[in-house]
């Protein structure tokens, strides 16, 4: 039954991939959505059954078959449902279903073939994502890990006719491969250390090991895994691909680059919680990287003018929050934020999609404004989600963000807490800047044609014409033209997600507010090393297992109620301050932002250009290598087209490659010389050794 959850989307993929081009859109889209909904329902029943079990033994294993054996090492292709993966599959199938439904309307302008292609990729993605979270060992997770990367690549490059999309896809892939490299090494090191890749086995073994105060094997393993996570979850230094990934269709941004795939790194740390807990050095790095990413992306988000890019940087920033939580050892808080974030960020992305849809492809918020009355459904859902992400009390983001900040403070990391609060202020500010510029104020979307070139500092990606809906030429709207609000399927998804953005937080109401932090309690066993879910077969194991299965103490939680309440007050104030600031700056005194932009031109430019990170990478890595590789151009080697697949780091390799291949000069004597030299060197090695 468990296996059905990923296999249903896979079946949908098979059908749509083989016959999608010949089927009408209603069938392909309907099928793709239907498999996701059914998968969601199955997931609900499974989780329901899981919840009925006693908390300590909430674990369902399904071994499909033994996948790999080597000596005494053996590995099953197995799925495991526990408290942690239960949350994940609900998020993936639930939000996934909504986004599928949304896409049936959003992508309806595509041709039948492209439509089918889109949904087959989307289903395939869900399959791999479910593999990733359900896998009971590192290698099954890695299958999903690689698979989602591949699907993300295919989906970012969905509009491959557009150079920016193709480049973004390659960038995402290349950056992810760097992360994957570390991940595989980490996995190999796990095999060496534990002779197993099963999460439970590793956790049990790690538990028996001392906490590594100095940098040791566990620290190295976890660090490698974390580098893998930074690639997938867009953290410093590997975050650069995510903003560019916005070149993909908006539902993809919502599903992959907000709700699910990018959170895989967070999930992975949660999955290996015991391992990370025994490597405090790595945890420290995780926390610092998370906080730094949160702050940096937040500041960049403040000045971006592309609606999706603002959201992209916001995603990077919120992911930073999650890593901060993970780094604090507050795994429950991280997963909690992951879940609430999935709701409101998906809602925001889908809302931005609805805006773009209404404006026929316009993404520049400077050319929006006053949309409130034209597209009310989109407006209200967008506002709800924005309030949620800003951390206004009562909505989802408040609870989860607050738990993270509380845990950070509790662990004595006041600086990181400060960073978190600052980011929180930034979040509220840039989100409401977005809301105000998009939905309030003057209607600026009529003046598109004239104003376009006037913006000298428009980011480069905007100079390309309307990225989406290439098939429909974008007509210039003027005042009075009716803008259609989201069609029914899109509205449905938006409304459900907006409701989710309000309610999702209530599963984790903290004790301080009279709640029971149900989610935290639910997740807690998943972060412990127990094998309570396994039938206890052997006698000597039984004792240990029972001991582990005793409910954990919740000592000291109540003691901090006062502290938690005051911290909550601070962050609530911060949230309101951010919203107020944004309203003041971008609604009341619109001259101030412009003044500030000129007064602090340097800072503004720095932020607008995303701290020049892309430029620095370009100047230090790409350009020098480009020069080298262009030396090879004399043979008519078309780098732009043929070599385009290799971006960034790829240029380095291809530069070396072009030099090295010159050795292969076609002369048989050179080849013989190579053999001869090899022979002489080998013999010399033996004789002079």
């Amino acid at each position: 039954m468990l296996a059905l959850i990923p296999l249903l989307p896979f079946a949908g993929f098979l059908v749509n991939a083989t016959m999608g081009r010949r089927l009408p859109k209603t069938v392909t889209g309907g099928l793709a959505s239907a498999v996701m909904v059914v998968s969601f329902l199955i997931a609900v029943t499974q989780v329901w059954a899981l919840a009925a079990m006693p908390p300590e033994s909430r674990q369902v294993n399904q071994v499909l078959f033994t996948w790999i054996t080597a000596g005494d090492f053996s590995l099953d292709l197995a799925f495991r449902l526990d408290a942690l993966s239960a949350v994940m599959i609900l998020v993936i199938t639930g939000i996934g279903s909504l986004i599928h439904i949304y896409s049936t309307a959003y992508m309806s302008h595509e041709t039948d073939a492209d439509f089918g292609r889109f949904f087959s990729y989307l289903n395939l993605f869900c399959f791999f994502m479910l593999m990733l979270v359900l896998g009971s060992n590192v290698l099954v997770m890695f299958v999903g890990w690689e698979g989602v990367g591949l699907c993300s690549y295919l989906l970012i490059g969905f509009y491959y006719e557009k150079q920016a999309a193709a480049d973004a896809a390659k960038k995402a892939f290349v950056v992810n491969r760097i992360g994957d490299f570390a991940f595989i090494l980490g996995a190999l090191l796990l095999v060496v250390t534990f002779n197993s890749l099963d999460f439970t086995t590793i956790a049990l073994a790690a538990k028996a090991m001392p906490v590594e105060v100095t940098f040791g094997t566990l620290s190295l393993i976890t660090l490698l895994l974390f580098v893998g996570a930074t690639g997938k979850s867009a953290q410093i230094p590997l975050y650069v691909w995510l903003p560019d990934a916005m070149e993909g269709p908006t539902p993809v941004s919502a599903l992959i680059h907000a709700a699910t795939m990018v959170t895989a790194g967070v999930y992975m740390i949660g999955r290996n919680a015991v391992l990370f807990e025994h490597a405090p050095i790595t945890l420290g790095i995780v926390a610092v990287v998370g906080a730094a990413t949160a702050l940096m992306a937040g500041t960049i988000g403040l000045v971006q003018n592309d609606i999706k890019r603002v959201l992209a940087y916001s995603t990077v920033s919120q992911l930073g929050y999650m890593f901060l939580a993970m780094g604090m050892g507050a795994f429950g808080a991280g997963i909690f934020h992951l879940m609430t974030h999935a709701f409101f960020k998906a809602c925001l992305f889908l809302g931005s999609g609805a805006v773009i849809h209404a404006l026929h492809g316009e993404q520049d918020i400077r050319k929006m404004g006053g949309l409130k009355k034209h597209i009310p459904v989109t407006y209200w859902t967008f506002v709800i989600a924005s309030v949620a992400i800003a951390g206004v009390p009562g909505l989802a983001g408040f609870f989860s963000k607050d738990e993270i900040l509380f845990e950070t403070f509790l662990h004595g990391h006041q600086i990181l807490w400060g960073v978190g609060v600052l980011t929180s202020l930034l979040t509220a500010t840039y989100m409401f800047r977005l809301v105000h510029l998009t939905f309030h104020g003057d209607e600026r979307f009529g003046a598109v044609a004239d104003g376009h070139d006037a913006h000298g500092h428009a980011p480069q990606h905007l100079s390309t014409p309307a990225p989406e809906h290439l098939s429909t030429p974008a007509p210039q709207h003027s005042h009075g033209v009716h803008l259609h609000d989201a069609p029914a399927p899109m509205a449905f998804a938006l409304i459900v997600l907006a409701i989710g953005s309000i309610l999702a937080g209530y599963v984790g109401v903290p004790h301080a507010l009279g709640g029971h932090n149900n989610l935290g309690a639910w997740l807690e066993p998943a972060f412990q090393a127990t094998n309570c879910g396994q039938p206890v077969a052997t006698g000597e194991l039984a004792g240990i297992a029972l001991e582990d299965c005793l409910p954990g103490e919740e000592a000291g939680v109540e003691d901090h109620a006062a502290l938690e309440l005051s911290l909550m007050a601070v962050s609530s104030l911060v949230a309101f301050a951010g919203i107020g600031l944004a309203s003041f700056l971008w609604l009341k005194r619109k001259d101030i932002p412009a003044q500030m932009a000129t007064q602090f031109a340097g800072v503004h430019k720095l932020l607008l250009n995303k701290y020049y990170v892309d430029e620095v990478y370009d100047a230090t890595i790409v350009q020098p290598i480009k020069v080298v590789s262009q030396e090879g151009l004399w043979r008519g080697f078309d780098v732009k087209i043929v070599d385009g697949a290799v971006n960034g780091a790829g240029y380095f390799v291809s530069g070396v490659s072009i030099v090295l291949r010159l050795l292969q000069n076609g002369s048989v004597k050179t080849y013989a010389a190579s053999i001869f030299a090899g022979a002489v060197v080998i013999l010399a090695f033996y004789l002079w050794r």
Binding site: S667, A673, F676, V680, L683
Partner: protein, 170 residues
Amino acid sequence: MLFYAFAGAAVIGSLLVVTQKNPVYSVLALIASFFGLSGLYVLLEAPFVAVVQIIIYAGAIMVLFLFVVMLLNVPREDAAEWDRAHPLYRPMAVRIGGALALLLALELAWALSRTAGLGGGVADQHPAVSSVAELGRVLFTDYMFAFEVTSILILIAMVGAVILAKKKEE
């Protein structure tokens, strides 16, 4: 001192092979070198090998070479017209090749000089087995399978040579 005479013949012959520009001379020099080797085989009390060396190697294989040289009728080496395509590499290959060959010879000599037990006479330890009958017996017992394998080898060579050198049909 016959050894040095034959060895000299073999070495000089071989050197001539690789220094002559005219392939006909090269082939002839190689035949001369083979005679030297043949003499060495006699010194090693392997008369049958010596005879085979002359009859098969020099007599058949080298004649095949000679035949091809004559067939293609290219009495001398091409001028260096093609070499200019690789101004950098070709002379380098020659020099590197020469240097490597020298190095290899030194390495081999050095290795052999360090190997114990090579100073003794070649015939000191065991009596020679040079009877053709014994040769044949061993060939068709111990080496029977290897012998059969060569039949396939030669078949491939025959078929292959025909396919590769046959003129185009049509």
